[in-house]
Point group: C2
DNA sequence: CTGTTTTCCTACTGCTCTGGTAGGAATTAG
DNA sequence: CTAATTCCTACCAGAGCAGTAGGAAAACAG
């Protein structure tokens, strides 16, 4: 399950992407209002997305956030990973942050790992293919390749 | 990420399936030894799998656990869901335990839900297709349809 | 240069979940 | 009856989650 932080993050990223084609600065308070999220809580989320290189920020009056890259170059997977970490079900199946499972005796002989990698590939395929632009463009197109 | 409980559960289920073709009673202590899991901890896991209908148990001397169904009729998804709950990334995308997300304002207009369902379908496809029998049979066959 | 807007940083809190541990009751085989 | 084994209840420490609070730092407007 995703954390609510991650869900908020995707929604917030969509708001940023939509405002002025993603090139205008959008304020936290504005996003918070539109998505009905606590402003303070949202702040922490956006700072994280900025630290991960998905957003840019500017302080002060008329400041705010905007996308660091075009909307079609930011996938939903990027956003989720920035907040919740790897998509994989086990550390040993993660490509972005591979690590050995502590409870696994020997990775090379693990019977689950190949399966876990398949599962990771399957979910990554879906979430990496879908960019913020895709999500904005058409609610209809998504169901097409389902 | 899976809990370590869920990973132990899959390994334990494999041990049960392997012993005597799944029809003999296997003791907790035996599984704990072979998989290097705390016996008491494993007990809780197996009780859960039994409650969910995947295993049968018998108390007393010569007691233990065995599969409630043939190994090819128990999927890895079944085991994982028994311990960790739904595979879906959001409640609103779960088929086995559908529920509305609290933080979601209106489900019918949620822009994430279709995508989350795709992700769920993708991971479920992999984990439901793979049974305990599949995992036991061949480490090689798995990588074939990757 | 002053005030206003807005992000940014640090710290705190209450709650639930995770990963166990402990002790003993109930049941079954021999 | 005795030994083996599951089953039940309770407990515990640490981590993570979902926020909340207060103010410092920066940028712009005038």
């Amino acid at each position: 399950m995703l954390s609510s932080k991650a869900k908020y993050a995707v929604r917030a990223a969509l708001q940023v992407a939509e405002a002025g084609g993603g090139s205008d600065w959008v304020q936290v308070a504005e996003i918070a209002r539109r998505e009905a999220i606590s402003r303070k809580f949202l702040e922490a989320i956006l700072v994280r997305l900025r630290d991960e290189g998905l957003l840019e920020s500017r302080r002060g009056a008329q400041g705010g956030y905007r996308l660091a890259r075009p909307a079609q170059d930011i996938s939903v997977a990027d956003v989720i990973r920035s907040i919740d970490g790897p998509l994989a079900l086990t550390p040993c199946a993660s490509r972005t942050r591979y690590g050995q499972c502590q409870d696994c005796v020997e990775v090379s002989r693990c019977r689950l790992q190949p399966l876990m990698q398949q599962a990771r590939d399957a979910v990554a395929e879906v979430l990496e293919r879908c960019s913020l632009a895709t999500l904005i463009a058409a609610p209809g197109t998504l169901s097409l390749h389902a």
